[in-house]
C-alpha cells in the first residue's frame, strides 16, 4: 500500500471511457439539444430557452406530471405501507407459527411480479382488464356485473387501473427488503417491549418501524425514482392513452423524440425530469444523513 497510488488509475480507464462515451457525452448532448429546434435530420436550430418556455405553458406536460404523482402513490407510498404490514405479518406471525418455510413461500408469491419482464406483466394485465377480460368476468360471476368497466379504455378509469397494476408489481420489493431488515433488528428490544405489556401494534409502531428506518429510506427513494421514470408499463398497458389520460413525462418525451420528431422539445422534457430526479435524490440523501446522526 506504500507504493504510488497513481498507477491504480490505469484500472479506471475502461470504466471511465465507457462512462464518458455512453453517459456523460450523451447527457451533455441531450441538454444541448434541449435548446434547439430539431427534427432529428438536418442541422438543429438554436432557439435558446424556447422549449422550456413552451414546456411551462404546456397543459399536456403538466397533466403528465399530475399522472406521475398518482404513480408515486401507487409505486412508492402504497407499496411501502402495505409492505411494512405484510412483512411484519410474515415475520412475526407466519414464520413463528408455521415455520420459516411457509413465510418464504408466501414472500416468493408476493415477489413474483418483480422478477418478470415488465412487458409480460403488461400483457397479462391488459388482457385481464380488457372489456371481455377475466376481471369483468369475475365481477359478473359474483353478481357485481354493474361494476364492469372498460378498465384501460375509459379516460376516467385508466389511470386508476394502471395504478392498481403498479401496486401489484411493486409490493414485493418492500416486503423482501423489510423482512431482511427485520432479521437484522435486535430481538431483545421486542422482548423487552413485550414484557412491558406493549400490544403487537405498539411493538410494531415503536420498535419495528424505527429500526427499519434505513430500509424505509432506501425503499421510498428507489421506488419514487422508479415511479418518475416509469415507461415500460405505460407503453405496454395504454401507450399514454386513452386521450392522454395516462401520459407521463418519460412517455411524453419518447413521443416527442420518435413520433412527433420534435427532438428539442423531447430533450427539454427529459432534462426537466432528470433535474427533478437528481434534486429529489440529493434531498433524500441529505435527510437520511441527518436522520442517522444521534
Amino acid at each position: 500500500m506504500t507504493r504510488s497510488r497513481g498507477s491504480y488509475l490505469l484500472f479506471l480507464i475502461p470504466g471511465a471511457l465507457l462512462l464518458i462515451a455512453v453517459i456523460l457525452v450523451p447527457f451533455a448532448m441531450n441538454i444541448g439539444i434541449s435548446f434547439t429546434q430539431w427534427s432529428g435530420a438536418g442541422d438543429p436550430k438554436w432557439t435558446g430557452l424556447d422549449n422550456y418556455r413552451r414546456l411551462f405553458a404546456d397543459d399536456v406536460f403538466w397533466a403528465s406530471f399530475r399522472h406521475n404523482v398518482g404513480l408515486v402513490v401507487a409505486m412508492a407510498i402504497v407499496p411501502t405501507v402495505a409492505g411494512l404490514v405484510i412483512a411484519a405479518a410474515l415475520f412475526d406471525f407466519v414464520a413463528k407459527r408455521f415455520g420459516a418455510r411457509a413465510a418464504s413461500v408466501l414472500r416468493a408469491c408476493v415477489y413474483l411480479p418483480q422478477v418478470l419482464p415488465i412487458a409480460v406483466a403488461g400483457i397479462v394485465w391488459s388482457w385481464l382488464l380488457a372489456p371481455e377480460g377475466a376481471v369483468n368476468e369475475v365481477l359478473s360471476a359474483v353478481g357485481l356485473g354493474s361494476l364492469a368497466q372498460n378498465w384501460l379504455g375509459d379516460p376516467d378509469v385508466a389511470l386508476w387501473s394502471v395504478m392498481g397494476v403498479m401496486v401489484w408489481i411493486q409490493v414485493g420489493y418492500p416486503v423482501v427488503i423489510f423482512m431482511a431488515g427485520m432479521q437484522r433488528a435486535d430481538p431483545s428490544l421486542h422482548e423487552a417491549a413485550e414484557l412491558d405489556g406493549a400490544s403487537w401494534w405498539g411493538r410494531f409502531w415503536h420498535v419495528t418501524v424505527p429500526q427499519l428506518r434505513p430500509e424505509l429510506f432506501v425503499v421510498l427513494l428507489t421506488c419514487t425514482i422508479a415511479a418518475l421514470k416509469v415507461f415500460g408499463p405505460i407503453y405496454v398497458l395504454t401507450r399514454g392513452g386513452p386521450g392522454g389520460s395516462t401520459n407521463v413525462p418519460s412517455y411524453y418525451s419518447f413521443q416527442n423524440f420518435f413520433e412527433k420528431t420534435q427532438v428539442g422539445y423531447g430533450a427539454a422534457i427529459a432534462t426537466v425530469l432528470t433535474v427533478l430526479i437528481l434534486v429529489l435524490t440529493t434531498v433524500f440523501l441529505r435527510v437520511q444523513k441527518r436522520g442517522e446522526r444521534p
Binding site: 500500500m1 497510488r5 491504480y8 488509475l9 484500472f11 479506471l12 475502461p14 470504466g15 471511465a16 465507457l18 462512462l19 455512453v22 453517459i23 456523460l24 457525452v25 450523451p26 447527457f27 448532448m29 441531450n30 439539444i33 405484510i86 410474515l90 407459527r97 408466501l106 408469491c109 408476493v110 413474483l112 411480479p113 422478477v115 418478470l116 419482464p117 415488465i118 412487458a119 409480460v120 403488461g122 400483457i123 397479462v124 391488459s126 388482457w127 385481464l128 377475466a134 368476468e137 401489484w168 414485493g172 425514482i225 418518475l228 421514470k229 415507461f231 415500460g232 407503453y235 418519460s250 420518435f258 427532438v263 423531447g266 430533450a267 427529459a270 432534462t271 425530469l273 432528470t274 430526479i277
Partner: protein, 253 residues
C-alpha cells in the same frame, strides 16, 4: 380468531398475486373456439398447444431468446469485470478524487434513460451500432457497472489489509494482486452482481425498444411489448406469449 384473520388475509393476498398467472396459463392451453364459447375463466377441456406453437413460429421466438441470452450474458460478464476494475482503483487504490468519481457513477445509475435516449440513438446510427446487439451490450455494460462500482467500492474499502500487504511482499504487482487475491475473495459478491445484472438487462425495455428494431436483434421483452401494442393477437395467443415470456427468467431460478 385474530390469528386466523391474519393467516387468511395473507393467503388471499398470495392468491391475488398469483391469480393473473394462473388465469393466463389456463387460457394459453385453450383453443380459440373453446375460448370463444366458454370465456376466460373456464377450465380447458384438454391441452391445446397449437397457440403456443403458432406464437413461437410467428414471432421467431427462438431468435428472441437467443438475443436476450447473448445480450444479458455479455452485459453481466462485462459489467462485473468493469465493476471490479473500477472498485479496485476506487476502493482499494483510493485514487485521488474518488468521491467525485463515485458520484459520477452514482449519477450515471440514477439518470432517467430518456435523458440519454436520443443522443444514444443518434450516436449508434453514426457508429453503425444501431440495431445491433453489440450497441446495446456496450450501453448496458456501463449502466449496470455504474451500480456495481458503487456497491463494490464500498465493500473494498474494508478489504483486509494484511492480505494485500502479503501479496506485495511476495512480489505480486497490482494486476496479480487483483486477479489472485481480491477477485477470489470477493467471488460471492461478484456472483450476486452477475445474477442481478443478468436479470436487470433481461428485463430492460426502454433503450432496447429504441435501439433494436429488427426481428433478428430484438429481445424477448421488446418483441412482446411491440406485439402487444399492435393488438394483433387473439386472446389465447396473448396468453401464450405471456406464458413464454415468463418461462425464462434468470440463471438463479
Amino acid at each position: 380468531m385474530k390469528r386466523h384473520v391474519t393467516l387468511w388475509s395473507l393467503i388471499v393476498l398470495a392468491v391475488v398475486m398469483l391469480a393473473p398467472f394462473l388465469v393466463v396459463a389456463l387460457n394459453a392451453l385453450k383453443s380459440p373456439s373453446e375460448y370463444a364459447t366458454d370465456g376466460p375463466l373456464s377450465f380447458p377441456d384438454g391441452v391445446y398447444l397449437q397457440g403456443l406453437i403458432d406464437f413461437w413460429a410467428r414471432v421467431g421466438f427462438g431468435q428472441k431468446l437467443l438475443n436476450s441470452v447473448v445480450i444479458s450474458g455479455s452485459v453481466a460478464v462485462l459489467a462485473v469485470v468493469i465493476s471490479v476494475l473500477n472498485a479496485y482503483a476506487l476502493g482499494i487504490g483510493r485514487v485521488r478524487g474518488r468521491t467525485w468519481i463515485l458520484v459520477a457513477f452514482l449519477i450515471a445509475n440514477t439518470l432517467p434513460q430518456e435523458a440519454l435516449a436520443y443522443p444514444l440513438y443518434f450516436l449508434a446510427n453514426e457508429t453503425g451500432l444501431y440495431d445491433t446487439r453489440l450497441g446495446v451490450i456496450i450501453i448496458f455494460t456501463i449502466i449496470q457497472a455504474a451500480f456495481g462500482t458503487y456497491l463494490l467500492s464500498s465493500t473494498y474499502v474494508g478489504f483486509p489489509h494484511e492480505l494485500l500487504e502479503a501479496a506485495y511482499l511476495d512480489g505480486a504487482n497490482k494486476w496479480q494482486t487483483l486477479v489472485r487475491v481480491v477477485v477470489p475473495i470477493s467471488r460471492p459478491t461478484l456472483g450476486v452482481l452477475f445474477v442481478f445484472f443478468f436479470i436487470w438487462t433481461w428485463n430492460e425495455f426502454f433503450l432496447p425498444l429504441i435501439l433494436l428494431i429488427s426481428n433478428d436483434t430484438q429481445t424477448v421483452p421488446v418483441a412482446l411489448g411491440v406485439l402487444q401494442g399492435q393488438r394483433m393477437m387473439d386472446a389465447t395467443m396473448t396468453s401464450a406469449s405471456a406464458l413464454l415470456g415468463s418461462s425464462r427468467r434468470s440463471p438463479s431460478s
